[in-house]
Symmetry: C2
Subunit: 245 residues, 2 copies
């Protein structure tokens, strides 16, 4: 084991095994109101591209980042870092490299409205008072990270879980978030001084907004529809639906 | 645009732009108690490997899957599917291919306790009344998915966000979840009949447990430490800390 964060303590694995001896389910420690609040957060979370200039209070930013850090990670490797960008000059540089990729991507769209919409989506980078670059460091856990031997991308999935926690935390704080992924990673590394071994996997614009729409904007403008969940759930085998449906 | 889910509706992009004309922040629609409930869910979520045989009620399973489906996805592509496995014969087959990879992985561990711990982690597959295989289908959105031109793995990150939603929803329902990623994808495809174009990215064991520990098991047994969040957050540039710290 070469993970520098690890210090193997002896004998306490046995404590862990004792869990299996208690055969009653754990007492439910979330009240119906608490359950509703969590489901409300899932439903109310939106990808927002329109921001007000008001700054994000420092204590709220800290709670959002703390929520990220509570995410699960493969082998507890915690592969994430967060670069909080409030320097307008750097935000402008980020916008320029994103805009360069937008122009390249727009060649794929023959609908002027879609092109217009894509432009709007990226202007959040100029409007938002703050952008957080989330990075993923595959090398953090050493060469034998448990669970990455067979599926190496589980580190990236861990970082994505951290982003989802941030998004939910921001939403309950009344803070809007948008996820921008139209950029070349090397451009972002150059601007933010990120080492080659670290991947900038998301640019998250963060700030107050005038309202959170009831349905996702991409759904509202007809870009895509929400799929029917029943079509996505199978029983025991791929493509096998429940017999009673 | 070749996404079959898309039907471009005209003229309603303009409605979207009106958001920018209202210059007051949205009214905070989460009460302090609701905020606390969401933060409590982040803190209380655990990777659990020890299960009781009690079945997961169908209505709870449906709420957990609905939470998954409310996750963000790049270009709203919703690349996920969920195979709910309650057939004991299939669960045993999954355990066998996971156990095969455990034996291969254990060659990397020279500490007997670590090897013992790894074995315990996977036995959840035999104990849990239910396992959900979450898959990711990169091809779902067609060839020009917005935001995947430059960072193709954003589809996988979307599916990871869905898994985090499931995990939080399960936790508030008193249902334990564990994420197993020690397997060859092709083995899982063979057992569950998954097409080659679809990636089985997680096996999630799900069920009741006797208790949710206060701190993550990997931290408690000394496998890894929680990193100091302050060391992971930078200001405007990689490795740049706040001046007042």
């Amino acid at each position: 084991m070469t993970n520098p964060h690890r210090e193997t303590q002896k004998d306490n694995i046995l404590i862990d095994c004792q869990d299996q001896d208690t055969l009653r389910p754990s007492k439910l420690d979330f009240s119906p109101d608490e359950q509703k609040a969590v489901y409300k957060a899932f439903s109310a979370r939106r990808d927002i591209r329109s921001y007000l200039p008001d700054p994000v209070p420092k204590e709220i930013l800290e709670r959002i980042l703390h929520a990220a850090h509570l995410a699960p990670s493969v082998d507890f490797m915690q592969p994430w870092n967060f670069i909080v960008i409030s320097d307008r000059n750097i935000q402008n540089k980020l916008y320029q490299v994103v805009e360069k990729e937008r122009l390249r991507a727009s060649a794929n769209y023959d609908d002027l409205k879609q092109d217009h919409y894509l432009r709007l989506k990226l202007e959040g980078l100029l409007q938002a008072p703050m952008t957080i670059c989330v990075t993923n460091h595959s090398g953090r856990g050493g060469p034998h990270v448990l669970g990455r031997n067979t599926i190496p991308e589980t580190d990236l999935m861990s970082t994505a879980c951290a982003i989802e926690n941030m998004w939910l935390a921001a939403r309950v704080e009344g803070i809007a978030m948008g996820w921008i992924s139209i950029y070349q990673k090397q451009d972002i590394r150059n601007i933010l001084g990120i080492p080659d071994s670290v991947d900038p996997v998301a640019l998250l614009t963060i700030g107050y907004t005038s309202h959170f729409p009831d349905i996702p904007v991409l759904e509202r403008v007809g870009w895509a529809k929400r799929l029917d969940l029943k079509e996505l759930v199978f029983q025991n085998q791929w493509d096998q639906k429940e017999l009673d449906e």
